[in-house]
């Protein structure tokens, strides 16, 4: 159709280029067009955060952003955060401290937490709870999510100190 837009994105380090209707949502692009199924759909109203991705250094809920709005951006999803050979400390900590159950919120949760720890490398419990309040979890009651993020922060800070 003539109203399609020319979109260029960089997703998890890979350049993507395609034509999309103006109404195409970013979560649809990621999940349906690019087969990146880590980010999930939970509400489509920006409340639950299961679709959280990082766009140009900001946490964004991909379910309520048109892909056209992300044109030219760098997008990072859970798949770009760490894999079997290079797990992110948050991925390790969530397992170690039982920070997940059904796993549906987990990709968005960890993606958001990477940004939180970038902004506040050594957060207090209150800062974690406030900073994670845009991501809903129905299983864990958050207690072990908070614990996981604290543990990952400690791990990352220790690694940073050791490197300096």
């Amino acid at each position: 159709m003539s109203n399609k837009m020319h979109i260029k994105l960089n997703v998890n380090g890979k350049a993507e280029e395609f034509l999309a209707e103006p109404r195409e949502l970013l979560i649809y692009t990621l999940r349906e067009r690019l087969n990146i199924t880590g980010p999930h759909i939970g509400c489509e109203t920006s409340h639950c955060g299961a679709c959280t991705v990082t766009i140009d250094g900001k946490s964004v809920k991909a379910c309520t952003m048109f892909v056209a709005q992300a044109n030219g951006a760098e997008v990072t999803t859970i798949e770009g955060i760490g894999g079997p050979d290079d797990l992110h400390p948050l991925q390790t900590a969530f397992k170690e401290h039982h920070g997940l159950q059904c796993g549906y919120c987990t990709p968005g949760m960890i993606t958001r937490a990477t940004k939180l720890l970038e902004d506040i490398p050594n957060p207090t419990e209150e800062e974690i709870r406030f900073g994670m309040a845009g991501n809903l979890c129905r299983c864990t009651g958050y207690q072990n999510i908070v614990k996981s993020i604290k543990a990952a922060a400690a791990e990352m800070n220790a690694a940073k100190e050791a490197a300096e």
Binding site: E21, R23, E24, Y28, R31, E32, N35, I36, T37, G38, P39, H40, I41, G42, C43, E44, T45, H47, C48, A50, T77, I78, E79, G82, G83, P84, L87, L90, Q91, F94, K95, E96, H98, L100, Q101, C102, G103, Y104, C105, T106, P107, I110, I128, R129, F130, M132, A133, G134, N135, L136, C137, R138, C139, T140, G141, Y142, Q143, N144, I145, V146
Partner: protein, 805 residues
């Protein structure tokens, strides 16, 4: 050999068996975005189906015009009841013995009801098609109140003969579904008439919703060449779904494969069969292509599986010194437009007859009337066994009200009425036989840990300070003691659609000493792949890390009734242990042969069989597994496999003692949870880490329900809480840290003594949070206020009690 230097403790630790906090094997894929949920499934040529839904709660459907919709590029078909009728699929049976419209057949009975199914190449085209389906409605009077419904001349279910019996006996009125009772009516009335004290209270347990983060959905793929239907979906009971699909479609059961992939939480929402499943199957048959249907959040909250909606009236009788002598409970149950409760057949009000709670109440009577209204169907058990949350809320409120009536401390009132340890197995007045318990020990431990006396003293001081104008914050101490009834259940009294509620496990040991076990249940976050391997590790002496657990594929897993009502550990967990014991029995014979001794001369020790009295002579389970596949042993078949179908002799009865300390700002109505202590006794503990996680999660769902979460309707039958803007799901910001604790009272009839825990915290948590709010206002004359205690309602309570000056 390494084994020779390993201590017995090392060998036990290597197994990662029962009792250890084994890390979850599921987590690797979930933390890396590699889960496989139903919406992640993609098949060649897959289409997407979505519903045209009714904006009205009660209306005649005059006409449906699909012409314009079919012109939309990408729209392939629009199904209506007229298309399904020739197949006999425009209605479907519910799990409760009623029937439900798949697509509106002449009228609609609730807002959001499925009217037409648009099948398109993608979601956008489906949405465009939905916009253009023209439906003409003729509005009818709307009834959202069950009491009004029972008086109304308006007939909601015109398809039912008003004079004919329903699935659960006679109907009193054209909008009445059933009356179900338990216990002894006349003796209870007599006890009430003669009692020293009778406390009466009416309470409404509001309608809410399980709202898992992943909504319901499915992918149906009809392979017309081979005549095989594959159905992936968010099914908490995949085998039951296969049987239902076979019964209603006429496709033979061996030609249907149902697969539950990873499920993003269930909490009861994903037990039932929904119109989306039927329409997807039909659409796949019609188009010859796979069809996906995924609810959006509004669909989910408005149409699939509400919970509660019980109007309960209680009378509790006691002597002057607080010994309870009788209990009477009447429930008016709002089931919505169709009776689609997910309960065992003989229990149309679930296990509401556990409402005598943890107390030795000699005489009791329960009567439940089910009623149709213009609200969504459902009535599922949201994070609890069947209607147990309602039952426990009821009795824990009645105890508090009786304490007020007697001017007695509610902890003491509970203590003097608890079923005593020596009374177990205890036959309750409403029919159940509680397997085991030690309530006094749990209660005393809880009260001591929180310094109950100290809290009461602090509260008294706070009341004085409040009255003196020194503070505007009140303090509430919430108490609850609950007994769950889980693990449905014995086939003799528990079935769904005639399917006995046993469960199953099948084990195959591989030659090199690793294994796969398949079960009839399906995890939705509970961590079955981790914990069931732990049960097996302890039973068969192979490391949990060498055991794969697989669930959810009906072509490979043995038949089972699925996961809900905390039944996985009590039933499938038992089947796992029993199948493991069969493996062990055969292994014993193989070991004896290899060691050249009699079967009875070897005994199992952690991970091996040893010759009695000669511990240096042994065969490890790994060696035995290999021998099972490479040695010709006289009288023993090759291989090492076992299957067990376990029909539990009784339910299990987990229990717990909870205390909540809450500060309430009288002027804003905002409650702040200062402390929450939860002691759970779930019998034998398989994985403490997972138990603790389940308790945190269940308590948080309890907090939600008690403090704000509801499905509310206006008088027109409009759902007022259809998005996460209005429907309260707590964030990390609102939720406190919980203190967890435990006692261990094993179930005497369960092979490993386990009772199940996933739902206890919700069952015990709701009354505990509610009681904390009520308790804060008790010194000012509060007796009972209905949940949910959101800020506005708490403010209103304070206002009515004159606390705003």
């Amino acid at each position: 050999m390494k084994d020779e230097v390993e201590s017995r403790d090392d060998r036990v630790a290597n197994l990662k068996g029962m009792g250890c906090s084994r890390k979850r094997v599921e987590d690797a894929r979930f933390t890396q975005g590699k889960g496989n949920y139903v919406d992640d499934i993609k098949l060649d040529g897959m289409l997407f189906g979505d519903f045209v839904r009714s904006p009205y709660a009660h209306a005649r459907v005059v006409s449906i015009n699909t012409e314009e919709a079919l012109k939309v590029p990408g729209v392939l078909a629009v199904l209506t009841a007229a298309d399904l009728e020739p197949l006999g699929l425009h209605w479907m049976p519910t799990l409760a013995g009623d029937k439900q419209m798949v697509l509106a057949d002449g009228k609609v009975l609730f807002q959001g009801q499925e009217v037409a199914f648009v099948v398109a190449e993608d979601r956008y085209a489906a949405a465009d098609g939905i916009e253009l389906v023209e439906v003409e409605y003729d509005e009818l009077p709307v009834i959202v109140d069950p009491f009004e419904s029972l008086k109304s001349d308006v007939v909601l279910r015109e398809d039912l003969d008003p004079k004919a019996d329903g699935a659960h006996g006679p109907r009193k009125h054209h909008n009445h579904i059933f009356t179900w009772d338990a216990g002894d009516k006349e003796p209870t009335e007599q006890v009430l008439a003669e009692a020293d004290v009778v406390a009466t209270e009416s309470m409404y347990y509001h309608r809410t919703h399980p709202c898992p983060l992943e909504t319901c959905g499915c992918v149906a793929s009809m392979d017309k060449v081979n005549g095989k239907l594959t159905l992936w979906g968010t099914f908490q009971a995949p085998h039951a779904i296969r049987t239902v699909v076979s019964l209603i479609s006429g496709i033979e059961e061996h030609n249907i494969r149902v697969i539950s992939p990873d499920i993003g939480g269930g909490f009861g929402n994903k037990v039932g069969a929904y119109p989306g499943y039927v329409c997807s199957v039909v659409a796949s048959i019609v188009t010859g292509k796979p069809v996906k249907w995924i609810e959006d959040r509004m669909d989910n909250l408005m149409t699939t599986a509400f919970a509660r909606d019980y109007h309960m009236t209680g009378k509790i009788a006691a002597t002057k010194d607080g010994k309870i002598t009788g209990l009477h409970c009447h429930v008016t149950a709002d089931h919505g437009g169709f009776d689609a409760c997910a309960d065992p057949t003989k229990f149309p009000a679930g296990f509401m007859n556990i409402c005598t709670g943890s107390y030795d109440i000699p005489t009791a009577y329960l009567e439940v009337d089910g009623v149709y209204t213009n609200k969504a169907p459902g009535g599922v058990s949201y994070r609890c066994s069947f209607r147990v949350t309602e039952a426990v809320y009821f009795i824990e409120r009645m105890i508090e009200v009786l304490a007020i009536e007697l001017n007695m401390d509610a902890t003491e009132l509970r203590r003097i009425n608890f079923i005593k340890k020596e009374q177990f197995p205890y036959k309750a007045a409403l029919g159940w036989e509680y397997d085991s318990g030690d309530y006094h020990t749990a209660w005393d431990k809880a009260l001591k840990t929180v310094d109950y006396e100290g809290l009461r003293a602090e509260q008294a001081q706070r009341v004085e300070d409040f009255k003196a104008g020194k503070t505007r914050t009140l303090m509430g101490i919430g108490l609850s003691f609950f007994t769950e009834i889980v693990g449905a259940g014995p086939v003799k009294n528990c079935d769904i659609l005639g399917l006995g509620m046993f469960d199953s496990c099948e084990i195959r040991i591989h030659p090199t000493g690793s294994a796969i076990a398949r079960l009839g249940t399906i995890s939705q976050g509970q961590g079955h792949a981790t914990t069931f391997a732990q049960i097996l590790a302890s039973e068969i002496g192979l490391p949990a890390d060498s055991i794969t657990i697989e669930e959810g594929d009906t072509d490979t897993a043995p038949y089972g009734l699925g996961t809900y009502g905390s039944r996985s550990t009590p039933v499938a967990g038992a089947a796992t242990a029993m199948a493991g014991r069969k493996i062990r029995a055969k292994a014993q014979m193989i070991a004896a042969y290899l060691l050249e001794v009699h079967d009875n001369d070897v005994e199992f020790d952690v991970d091996r069989f040893v010759v009695k009295g000669a511990p240096e002579r042994f065969k490890t389970m790994k060696e035995i597994a290999f021998a099972a596949y490479n040695q010709a042993i006289p009288g023993i078949e090759p291989g090492l496999e076992a299957v067990s179908y376990y029909d539990p002799p009784n339910m299990t009865y987990p229990f717990g003692a909870y205390v909540c300390v809450m500060d309430i700002d009288v002027d804003t109505g905002v409650p702040e949870i200062r402390r929450f202590y939860a002691l759970d006794d779930c019998g034998t503990r398989i994985n403490p880490m997972i138990i603790e996680g389940q308790v945190h999660g269940g308590l948080t769902e309890a907090l939600a329900v008690a403090l704000g979460q509801e499905i509310a309707y206006d008088d027109m039958g409009n759902v007022k809480t259809g998005t996460l803007m209005d429907f309260f799901l707590p964030t990390a910001w609102e939720v406190p840290n919980y203190e967890t604790d435990f006692t261990v009272t094993p179930s005497p009839h369960h092979p490993i003594g386990a009772k199940g825990v996933g739902e206890s915290p919700h069952v015990g948590g709701v009354p505990c949070f509610s009681n904390a709010v009520q308790d804060a206002f008790r010194p000012f004359g509060n007796r009972h206020t209905n949940m949910p205690h959101d800020h506005w309602r708490i403010w209103q309570t304070a206002n009515k009690l004159g606390l705003h000056g």
